[in-house]
């Protein structure tokens, strides 16, 4: 088990390094940052000074080594636009994104599980078919479109919820969060719902498949033979069995939730790291782009590692084959 764990961690570090190389050569070789940083009427001396300050005058491999050395110390350069260290900037914007993703994940379970269980229970009836067709629409609706529609309905027409922005925050353990703030949660509902919709469809399908499978098991029939009510069978006997795979999948999906937050944050002007990324791409603020990419890669690798290890602990069959391979 320890060997497996160590190998898995080594694998993750290798992936992170490989990503760094790809990222550096991918992003750093395109575009001309000098144009962004220096006003068109700057003197050649000013251009020279800036080039030197950012190391652009050195050969590419030197630039990479500098980059790698700095990256290992958590320094991925300063933002051209904000003038702050890029990593610090990302860390500053990250809590807003993480809390949005967390609430989105929560919503997707809240919506997807009951719908999926019901669809599995009524799989041959029109209710079940309707939910499955509906879930296809959930897959089809582009994130930004859903956000727009929600704003139009709940903010513009009904005026129930605020349309954009973040609202109040409170400091929890040194991090500013909206989710616990009185004037903050209402700002999160629409963007979190938008983010949740796609995953809710996924959860619905998973829950339906799991429910269909569980309902034909003997333990369900035995529970019925005990006289237990259908509601209790569905929401205790079946639900407990299908939650393990759903939670596993959702753990893996947290990463893509963070990635998709880019779109949602843009629609709702939510000041998270996704919005920061888009703004940085549009202004060619490369250190921030690189820092964002490295941070998300790190988050991804960590999530994958954790889910893998937990899964290995839960399922003895995986443990054996993992040790053998």
């Amino acid at each position: 088990m320890l060997v497996y764990l160590l190998r898995r961690i080594a694998q993750s570090i290798f992936v992170a390094l490989a990503m760094m190389v790809i990222v550096f050569f991918g992003i750093y070789m395109v575009g001309n940052p000098v144009d962004i940083l220096i006003s068109p009427d700057a003197t050649p001396a000013e251009i020279e000074a800036t080039m030197e300050r950012f190391g652009f005058d050195q050969p590419i491999w030197m630039q990479f080594l500098t980059f790698l050395g700095n990256a290992l110390q958590g320094d991925l350069g300063r933002s051209f636009v904000h003038g702050e260290p890029a990593v610090q900037l990302i860390l500053h914007y990250m809590p807003a994104t993480l809390e949005l993703a967390a609430l989105g994940l929560f919503f997707s379970v809240l919506i997807g599980v009951p719908l999926g269980v019901y669809a599995g229970y009524k799989s041959d009836r029109w209710q079940g078919r309707a939910i499955m067709t509906g879930s296809i629409f959930g897959f089809s609706l582009p994130n930004f479109w859903v956000g727009m529609l929600l704003i139009l309905i709940f903010a513009v027409e009904l005026r129930w919820l605020p349309s954009t922005g973040r609202g109040d925050t409170v400091e929890v353990l040194g991090v500013r969060l909206s989710i616990f703030a009185e004037g903050g949660l209402q700002y999160m509902i629409l963007p979190a719902l938008t983010l949740a919709l796609y995953k809710a469809s996924l959860v619905t399908r998973l829950a339906r498949a799991g429910t269909q499978e569980a309902l034909v098991q003997d333990y369900v029939k035995f529970a019925r033979a005990k006289g237990v009510s259908e509601t209790r069978i569905l929401f205790v006997h079946v639900l407990k069995n299908i939650m393990i795979p759903i939670v596993t999948v959702l753990g893996l999906e947290l990463g893509s939730m963070i990635a998709f937050a880019v779109v949602t944050e843009t629609v709702f002007a939510w000041p998270g790291m996704g919005k920061l990324l888009i703004d940085s791409i549009l202004t060619l603020d490369r250190p921030v782009i690189v820092a964002y990419l490295m941070m998300t890669v790190l988050i991804f690798i960590t999530i994958n590692l954790i889910v893998d290890v937990i899964y290995t602990l839960l399922d003895p069959r995986v443990r054996i084959s993992g040790a053998a391979s």
Partner: protein
């Protein structure tokens, strides 16, 4: 007093390949405290009969005809709510495979307490006490501690005891046991058999014991009904059936039990395979495998005939004397 009376029960499965008449005109009745052995090969419809009584037949199966009178009440006509109140309360069931019947992710106490609370408004603590007593009664050591365990922490035999304890929880009038010992080791089998017999006798509970093994019911059942291809082909008092079977199929079943005949006799076996339920022959379903078959058997299915002494038979050419 008659506890259960099944009259002309029909349960059909509407599959893509056609209608499968899993149970086709089964009738029997059960007195208070009586033990009925329902015997047949796998696929003969004995399990479906059990599920039909509890109305637990899954689609595409459906009870399409007949009456199931439980203490005079027709179960087929009962509203779902009332039926649910009977299940596990007045009629309990024990399943074949103890590895599958308990929910793997719920603790034993959860699964026992819900069985009590489904029928009675009692506190959790009271329901728990009942569960402890029931576990003790089926011979599970230190039941109060074992309640907190998950099913996978029990052996197969222990799990079946838990299932039996659950069946006994509400003191039912009737227990349907669907091959409860088949999946267990031989030594455990006889223990469980003896225990269930004792408990049923003690509480005066009627018992339907479904099995493919005539030897199992030999010492247990008061009456025996033999099923073949969805029909009861022979029924009567256990001793009479076992000593003097009248249907060639019953005789075949008896002949294939080791040690039943005298030493040195060859074990007989029934030739051929269990019939394809989707394509039954027009006449007697047993005709293709029967040593006494005639053209009449292939043309029309025999009706039930009463042969006296509480025996009934579906056969045109019954054995007039016992085969040993």
């Amino acid at each position: 007093m008659t506890v259960l009376s099944v009259e002309n029960l029909q349960t059909h499965f509407f599959t893509d390949a056609g209608v499968v008449k899993a149970v086709d005109g089964v009738s029997f009745s059960l007195e208070e405290g009586e033990v009925l052995g329902l015997v047949g090969e796998s696929g003969s419809g004995k399990t479906v009969t059990g599920f039909s009584i509890l109305r637990l037949v899954d689609p595409p199966g459906r009870v399409t005809g007949g009456r199931i009178l439980f203490r005079g009440q027709d179960l087929a006509k009962l509203p779902d709510r009332e039926m649910r109140r009977l299940r596990g309360n007045r009629i309990a069931m024990i399943f074949q495979d103890p590895m599958m019947t308990l929910n793997p992710v719920l603790r034993i106490d959860t699964q026992m307490i819900e069985a009590v609370q489904a029928h009675e408004k009692v506190s959790k603590a009271a329901a728990r006490d009942r569960a402890v007593q029931a576990l003790a009664r089926v011979g599970i050591p230190s039941p109060a501690e074992r309640l907190n365990a998950y099913p996978h922490q029990f052996s197969g035999g222990m799990r079946q005891r838990v299932a039996i304890a659950i069946a006994l929880l509400n003191g039912p009038d009737l227990i349907i046991a669907d091959e409860p010992t088949t999946a267990l080791d031989v030594t455990i089998q006889s223990q469980i058999l003896a225990e269930v017999q004792g408990l049923a006798r003690e509480t005066g509970t009627s018992l339907i014991w479904i099995t493919h093994d005539l030897a199992v019911v030999a010492g247990l059942a008061d009456r025996i009904a033999v099923m073949y291809a969805g029909r009861i082909v022979e029924s009567g008092p256990a001793s009479a059936i076992l000593t003097a079977p009248a249907h060639p199929y019953t005789a075949g079943l008896l002949g294939s039990i080791p040690g039943h005949g005298r030493r040195g006799d060859r074990l007989t076996q029934i030739p051929g395979m269990a019939p394809n339920m989707a394509h039954l022959p027009p006449g007697c379903a047993f005709a293709p495998r029967c040593p006494r078959v005639s053209d009449a058997c292939r043309a029309t299915a025999p009706e039930v005939t009463e042969t006296g002494a509480g025996r009934a038979l579906r056969c045109l050419h019954p054995l007039t004397e016992a085969v040993a």
